[in-house]
């Protein structure tokens, strides 16, 4: 518990960190609370079409006669859910493979490292486009696709962290006393690589939200749910006549990604005080 307090204290003291916390908290609040907020039905098409922003419709209405503010806030649910899901898949996969490679070393490490290296050279976004086009793009599919195209970043970092923990004396001592690899992993390695893994997972959420937005913008998002990328995709056609349709969802998207990036960066500065000078 005191650790949590310490982290919060750092975030408040770190200028960018607190902005990140506020932005993320606000967006998560909107995403979770959307059904409770006094908003018109996001799928209702009963309003006049193309109304500019006004007190009744602060973000205007779109080409189908839906309220843009309502759709934008409901969009937070989809974008953040996909971001979270994808980042979790990506981090679990990355942390697992990274830890195994770092811990076992030898041929296993060499194989995993090569796979990571090759993956990092792949044009990730195109791989995601290709897979979304071929296998369909339901929300679950999108999470898996983004997860398995972004795991190597985390894997490389966790592998590095594992290697450096493994060299430390207390781990060496534990091994000398006959501890098995599994015990070492559970007792010493995992607790020590948790912090960087969590920080990079948070950065990964921002990245996943951007990738999902890119896919949705290309028409490869889940057609049944309004993510921010889909809203921008729809709004682009009307940028000449109704700027508000694309502008507001995009603004929320930017603020959310910014929030996760600031929070993640700030956590990295907490773990590694050397970065604080920068």
């Amino acid at each position: 518990m005191s650790r949590v307090f310490e982290v919060l204290n750092h975030l408040v003291g770190d200028g960018y960190g607190i902005v990140g916390v506020v932005l993320v908290a606000l967006m998560v609040f909107l995403a979770v609370g959307a059904p409770l907020l006094p908003l018109p039905d996001p799928n209702s098409v009963d309003f006049p079409r193309f109304l500019p922003p006004s007190p009744e419709h602060p973000f205007g209405t779109d080409n189908l006669g839906s309220d843009v503010m309502s759709r934008t806030i409901w969009g937070a649910r989809v974008s953040i859910a996909i971001g979270l899901g994808a980042a979790l898949i990506s981090s679990l996969l990355g942390a697992l493979l990274g830890a195994v490679a770092g811990l076992l070393g030898g041929a296993v490490d060499a194989t995993i490292s090569r796979v990571i290296e090759i993956f990092l050279m792949l044009p990730t976004f195109f791989l995601a486009v290709l897979m979304a086009a071929l296998f369909g793009s339901s929300m679950a599919n999108l999470m898996v696709i983004i997860g398995i195209t972004t795991w190597p970043t985390t894997a490389r970092i966790v592998r590095g962290a594992t290697l450096s923990v493994k060299e430390r004396l207390f781990v060496e001592a534990s091994r000398a006393l006959g501890a098995s690899s599994l015990l070492l992993l559970r007792r010493h390695i995992l607790p020590n690589i948790m912090a960087p893994t969590i920080s990079y997972t948070i950065l990964q959420i921002g990245r996943a939200i951007l990738i999902e937005a890119g896919l949705s913008y290309l028409g490869l998002g889940d057609p049944n749910v309004p993510s921010w990328g889909r809203l921008i995709y729809r709004g682009q056609a009307y940028v000449f006549s109704a700027w508000w349709i694309a502008t507001f969802p995009g603004l929320f998207l930017v603020l959310t990604v910014l929030g996760f990036n600031l929070l993640g960066d700030s956590l990295l500065r907490y773990i590694n005080p050397k970065l604080r000078r920068l």
Partner: protein, 325 residues
């Protein structure tokens, strides 16, 4: 290891990587739901029995997957045949080569611009830490979080819709076609917004890398020595600090250029720019698989090649790298 041996080793490894990527790509496409014959030959297959036979024979579609994979690799690497687009009914390689100059105009120009802008602003940041630095850092953090296509749409809204300074889309003014030098000027006029968008999207990475490295170098002992002997601060940053920070930034530029073949797909889509990225996206919509795989292959080759070049430059500059692996 000699530099020559190191070069050979990297190239051999790079070739292996490209083969693995192509094979993975092939398996992904073939695992996808639907008949691979339709995927390879497209809709024509359904209507034209002559064509289906030719396509099946050419790509060995009646054979098991492993045989087809080898056949595909043979076609791609030994016959340099990427197949035919069913939508355009033209060789995939021809389609890509036609569009390449337009894409490279966008990607190379914007990468260089982003690099130059990053260089300039990071030096300003380091020279006057404090408010200017905070403002530049904050704005680069925001830009880093903006999806490139949204940035493009917003620039269109500002510069095309409201200020009417630049065209919103296309390569040339189709209602008023021009020739000679005026054609070039027209293309440049149309390229302005996509190039600006892409440069702004690429810029934060250069700024952050250069600034952070320079701040780190500034805390090193030799800097203190230079300051102690009274070296002019501007000269110190330009001659000694920046020089140390340039190597990672040039690496980034090299890797970035590796993505220049299709790296502008989203931007080309926003601005209706007839480049390789747009070709790929259009192919995705109509499931033009030979084109998708072809663009993916070319992109992979350039990315891997850029990686090798960057590695080799490193090895040439720093002999320790050669021993490392």
């Amino acid at each position: 290891m000699s530099f020559f041996a190191y070069t050979l080793k990297r190239i051999a490894y790079g070739t292996l990587v490209v083969v693995i990527i192509v094979a993975t790509n092939f398996v992904i496409v073939n695992l996808a739901p639907g008949d691979p014959a339709v995927a390879m030959g497209g809709e024509l297959v359904l209507s034209n029995p002559e064509y289906i036979k030719a396509v099946r024979e050419r790509w060995g579609l009646d054979k098991p997957l492993i045989y087809r994979l080898l056949h595909y690799l043979y076609n791609v690497f030994l016959r340099l045949d990427l197949g035919y687009s069913y939508r355009y009914l033209e060789p995939v390689s021809k389609l890509i080569i036609e569009r390449l100059p337009y894409t490279l105009l966008l990607t190379i120009t914007s990468s260089l611009l982003a690099f130059a802008l990053g260089l300039l602003t990071s030096v300003i940041s380091v020279r006057r830490l404090g408010k200017t630095d905070t403002a530049l850092t904050a704005s680069s953090l925001v830009l880093w979080s903006v999806p490139v296509f949204y940035l493009g749409i917003m620039l269109v809204w500002i510069f095309s819709v409201n200020l009417k300074l630049f065209p919103a889309a296309g390569l040339i003014d189709v209602r008023n076609p021009k020739t000679g030098i005026y054609y070039v000027l027209d293309v440049l006029h149309h390229a302005f917004l996509p190039v600006t968008t892409l440069a702004l999207a690429l810029y934060p990475a250069y700024y952050k890398l250069l600034r952070d490295t320079m701040v780190e170098v500034l805390s090193e002992d030799f800097v203190m020595t230079f300051r102690a002997v009274g070296l002019d601060e501007g000269r110190l940053v330009r001659r000694h600090v920046l020089r140390n920070a340039l190597i990672p930034a040039i690496t980034l530029l090299g890797l970035q250029l590796g993505y220049s073949v299709a790296g502008a797909a989203l931007i080309e889509n926003v601005f209706g720019w007839p480049g390789v990225g747009k070709l790929l996206l259009d192919a995705v919509y109509v499931r033009d698989y030979p084109v998708i795989m072809g663009v993916f292959l070319i992109t992979s080759i350039t990315v891997v090649a850029a990686n090798i070049v960057v590695d080799l430059v490193y090895a040439a500059l720093d002999p320790r790298v050669r021993v490392g692996r």
